[in-house]
Amino acid sequence: MHPAFSVIFLTTLIGVGQGLFLALFTGQLYALAKLLPAQDSQSFYALGSALALAFLLAGLGASFFHLGHPERAWRAATQWRTSWLSREVIVLPITLFLIFLYGLAHFMDWKQPWLVLASGALPVDATLVIGTLATLATFALFVCTAMIYASLKFIQEWHSPLTVFNYTLFGGASGFTLAAAFSAYAQANLVSFYGTWAVILTLAALLTRAASLWRNRHLKHKSNLQTAIGIRHNTIQQKAQGAMGGSFNTREFFHGQPQSVVRWVYWSFLLLVFPIPIVLLGAAYGIASVYLPMLAFLVQYLGLLAERWYFFADARHPQNLYYQSIA
């Protein structure tokens, strides 16, 4: 498949935004359980939510560049019964709105408990309720985004639950890395907490991504030229594809890069997403640096761009069987 930069930025940016929100809310839950010191509502949670919103909005903006008719994008909310893309179009604004409310509740300091559970130990206030709803929406959004790809059964490289795990874990890992960077910037004492979770999520993502890479390498494609044109012969050679100067079919479904570039991207993402951020986060923990977590996030995000590029380049659409040579 041709890697479209609009989709690469959309999926990676909203992943970071979702992950950052999850990190913020995880931090709040830990503080509620008195496992971590409570953070300031405005300078930490509200500002962090604004940062998550900024990433989500940037991703939403990138998605419009993918459309031929962005002015009709609202129509995409109508077919949620059958289309995962439509479901994403609905869940994304809901997630945005709930994270906005979450940030607003912290900003306005709506801390008056609505009810108190567990004999005074669990005050349920607006931030907790909205945060729980936003968490559900965030996970729903991960599933919707990934299922857009995983539901296409003939793109066999994508048609696997691993795609959903990868999208969720990459979003979580990059979001928690950003949370570590944000804590360092906000001088909150949470860098090691978020850093540890970022490393755990990055390692989990490494497991599932390695599994999907292994799966794709050993994939047996169901379709071949014999089933594509229905002629039983082991030797079939394409002599003409009906157009000399290329067509939509040759532009949209081929990455068009030499194998060397694909290998280069492959090794770049393996290095940039996994070992380098882990080392940087570990070093940040050791020397208590403010800038290393930020660097770790930048490196990992760059790596995720490469990962998403490879995700598309790796997928072989069966229609490519009809477009193997021009003459």
Binding site: F154, A240, M244, H317
Partner: protein, 243 residues
């Protein structure tokens, strides 16, 4: 239920591209148009087509055979491109099973083209909407045309009648009988898309001849045995007799 479809006979197709040009001519100026071209006279011409003819060489020289393969939307009975459309612009008509795109609703997200294993859909780079074969829906129901012309442009133009058009759900229609009797098959059956369009395979016409069909067993000459050849210096019958 009606399911209109094309039957393409690979045994007859000569790869002349008449269906390609007549399809483009009819549709670019009609309801489904325009089918925009870029660089039509330049170095790398490209553009939107609903129908393309590809050519494949089967086998190894000298035992090769050239197959021309016309390729367009197959109007699947289980079209995978329809449920993925987020706007409902892609739809399959209940009435006749034609899969169509509503250009006014399409947002040009290309997701349906990803969901089609056959690569039958093409984004028009000018109009920025997804386009595909309509089975000439603006022609086959046109009461102003004589009945014989209410057929898709590609079927009308095919000089070898390699393309048939009809309802494959009617068991007695010409297309259904042809599929049954001439081994009509579907492309990529492994995905369960149930394409409505069928292809007819290459067929070799062979006749078995026995020796006694070439030489009469009851040839009277044979009964007498082979006559001795006349001597070379003997006059022939023509030379001895005036007729």
């Amino acid at each position: 239920m009606t399911q209109l479809a094309l039957i393409i006979d690979l045994n007859v197709c000569v790869g002349c591209h008449a269906c390609v040009t007549s399809c483009k001519e009819w549709n670019t100026s009609g309801w489904a148009g325009p089918m925009t071209d870029f660089n039509p006279y330049g170095e790398n011409p490209t553009g939107t087509f609903f129908n393309r003819v590809q050519t494949f060489e089967i086998g190894v020289f000298p035992n090769t055979e050239t197959v021309h393969f016309p390729k367009s939307c197959l109007h699947c009975e289980e079209p995978p491109c329809v449920p993925v459309c987020p706007t409902g612009a892609s739809y399959k008509r209940e009435k006749d099973g034609i899969v169509l795109v509503d250009y006014d609703k399409c947002i040009g997200c290309k997701y349906c083209s990803w969901a089609c294993p056959y690569g039958a859909r093409e984004l028009d780079e000018k109009q920025k909407v997804m386009k595909k074969c309509t089975l000439c829906v603006d022609r086959i129901y046109d009461q102003k045309l004589p009945e014989a012309e209410r057929r898709p442009a590609c079927v009308m133009s095919c000089p070898t009648s390699a393309r048939l058009f009809g309802d494959i759900h009617d068991p007695d229609s010409e297309v259904s009988v042809t599929i049954r009797e001439s081994g009509g098959y579907q492309l990529m059956p492994e995905w369960g898309t149930k394409p409505a369009n069928h292809y007819l395979p290459r067929r070799k016409t062979r006749i078995t001849l026995h020796r006694d069909e070439l030489e009469r067993a009851d040839n009277p000459l044979k009964k007498e045995g082979i006559l001795p050849a006349p001597p070379a210096d003997q006059k022939t019958l023509d030379e001895t007799t005036s007729w």
